[in-house]
């Protein structure tokens, strides 16, 4: 039992990170129908920038805030310089553009920062809590609550605020949104900033546990993308569930079956799910209009 609980803790911590990356995917996808493969780089930038600002003597909270702000700015620039000029390009083109952006950001990070592995101290120390025989790091609780807070915040933003509704309207029909007076360019910029900030937040929360380096983004982007698709692209709740699910599958497979094939288990589940539900778990059934 305690062992199962330990696997669950592990799965939830890792899954929460995937969920945050998946949420980042969702925000941008909803506003622009672009799947941003540079999403993992936002996580990396959040972590790496915090490390370097913190090392320069800024207190950890200030460093984290600055890093998130910096990443959000990069998100806006990415939209302005790469996504906006490519409006109307095909899915494959957009995939290559965002992969190009991720390679570019990674290359930049290894020049601006370095190629070493880094970490900064956990927010509330490293003494684990002991719960029914299983242990949980205080930082894991930060990650879990952070993911929950981001999710609730986004939910409230999209359903309760005028600005959030404007984002949804833009996602639904760009032209119509513009006709009713929504500044769709601003909405796009906002979405990229928001998505980048969510990614950076994940990076800040998780670096004390998972460590960070300039190239951690690739795998995170893959897992986050897979999580978003498993949950159903465009659905924030789906992203949350998809992320946690993949984390849990990995942890329990590693624990009970084979640590060699834990990543394989996650992808097999995704493939089988998509075979049965081609729109993911919570994705909307799209009706082809002809």
């Amino acid at each position: 039992m305690s062992e199962f609980l330990q696997f669950v803790f592990s799965g939830l911590t890792v899954g929460a990170v995937y969920a945050l990356v998946a949420l980042g995917f969702t925000i941008i996808y909803n506003a622009s129908s672009v799947v941003n493969f540079a999403q993992g780089e936002f996580v990396m930038l959040g972590g790496m920038a915090t490390v370097f600002i913190f090392d320069a003597g800024v207190p950890i909270w200030g460093a984290a805030a600055l890093a998130i702000l910096l990443t959000a700015t990069i998100g806006i620039l990415l939209n302005k310089l790469a996504i906006e000029p490519a409006r109307g390009a095909s899915v494959v083109n957009l995939i290559i553009i965002t992969i190009g952006a991720s390679i570019f950001l990674r290359g930049l990070a290894q020049i601006v920062f370095d190629k070493q592995i880094h970490r900064f101290p956990a927010f509330s120390g490293d003494t684990p809590f002991n719960i029914a025989g299983a242990t949980l790091l205080p930082q894991s609780i930060w990650v879990l609550f952070g993911a929950a807070a981001v999710f609730i915040g986004l939910y409230a933003f999209f359903t309760r605020t005028l600005m959030g509704k404007a984002v949804l309207a833009t996602a639904n029909n760009r032209l119509a949104a513009r006709l009713v007076g929504i500044n769709t360019n601003f909405i796009m910029a906002l979405s990229f900033a928001l998505s980048a900030a969510v990614g950076a937040t994940a990076g800040v929360l998780v670096t004390p546990i998972t460590l960070t380096s300039y190239d951690i983004g690739v795998m995170l982007a893959l897992k986050g993308f897979a999580a978003a698709m498993l949950g159903g692209m465009g659905n924030p709740f789906g992203a949350l569930v998809g992320g946690l699910l993949i984390g849990l599958i990995e942890a329990t497979t590693a624990g009970y079956l084979s640590s060699d094939y834990k990543d394989a288990a996650a992808f097999i589940v995704i493939l089988l799910t998509l075979f049965v539900m081609p729109q993911g778990l919570f994705g909307q059934k799209s009706m082809e209009r002809v």
Binding site: M287, E288, R289, V290
Partner: protein
């Protein structure tokens, strides 16, 4: 036995009934028009008959065989062909190639024959090309044969759509607003073309907003509103039907109602 039979056909989208309890028949060589205001379910009906949507209720028969929910390509093999309201042209292919794809069923061959470009593959290519050219001539587009579809006008694409559908050698042809976006001359041409096709014995099911055209060429008209059949009869009967007039007045205003009344 009718060529196309529709019985109790219905579909719901997210709890809202889009089309309900529809019955009608189409005989060979007959032109049947479906009219109704926007959102009446005309295109949805086409999508169900041509196998793109799976109906929730009812059946579709071809020659008495139940073909409900059959894949579109299976229906095409049975002689049902269609065009699209919002154009589904193969934009990166030439006008000629668009029509050649329509000849697919008569030029199908094993893949390896095409990969190695065996003589039979080249021969079929030539035959198809000749046939497609004839069809293009029929819609007066032979001059545009080697232009990419994306560079052609809306009216031209509409006619390519028809040529492509004709290439399938259909026994029943579903035309979704063939004259939309066409000027008066083009509309006349399409009008004549439809009549000609019908005379060859092809049944035609037509959705069209141009009431003059509808009233002129139809043998039979079915009026839809909110997914249900409002009225059915000859063009003259329909144009006098008070329910039809009201539906048009209610949703579209006087001009179209006046059109509908001929």
């Amino acid at each position: 036995m009718s060529l196309l039979g529709v019985r109790g056909l219905g579909i719901d989208f997210g709890g809202i009934t889009a089309v309900n309890a529809l019955d009608f028949d189409v005989q060979p060589g007959e032109i049947v028009s479906i009219i109704g205001p926007n959102g009446a379910g005309k295109t949805t009906l086409f999508n169900m008959i041509s196998g793109i949507y799976k109906p929730d209720r009812g059946t579709v028969t071809l020659d008495g065989d139940d073909v409900t929910s059959l894949e579109p390509h299976k229906l095409a093999e049975r002689g049902l062909s269609r065009t699209f309201q919002n154009l589904q042209s193969f934009e990166q292919m030439t006008a000629l190639e668009n029509v050649m794809v329509g000849c697919h069923m008569s030029e199908r061959s094993p893949v390896w024959v095409d990969l190695l470009r065996l003589p039979s593959s080249s021969r079929r290519n030539r035959e198809t090309q000749e046939r497609a050219m004839t069809l293009l001539k029929r819609v007066h587009l032979e001059k545009a044969a080697h232009m990419e579809a994306s560079s052609l006008s809306y009216g031209a694409l509409k006619r390519i759509d028809i040529a492509r559908a004709l290439a399938c050698n259909p026994r029943i042809l579903l035309l979704d607003e063939p004259a939309a976006g066409c000027n008066a001359v083009e509309t006349e041409e399409i009008d004549a073309l439809i009549a000609e096709i019908a005379q060859e014995g092809v049944a035609i099911l037509l959705v069209e907003h141009d009431m003059k055209l509808v009233m002129k060429i139809s043998n039979h008209v079915i009026a839809l509103n909110y997914g249900e059949k409002l009225a059915e009869g000859t063009p003259a009967e329909i144009s006098r039907d008070p329910k039809v007039v009201e539906a048009y007045l209610g949703s579209h205003g006087g001009k179209e109602a006046a059109d509908a009344l001929g």
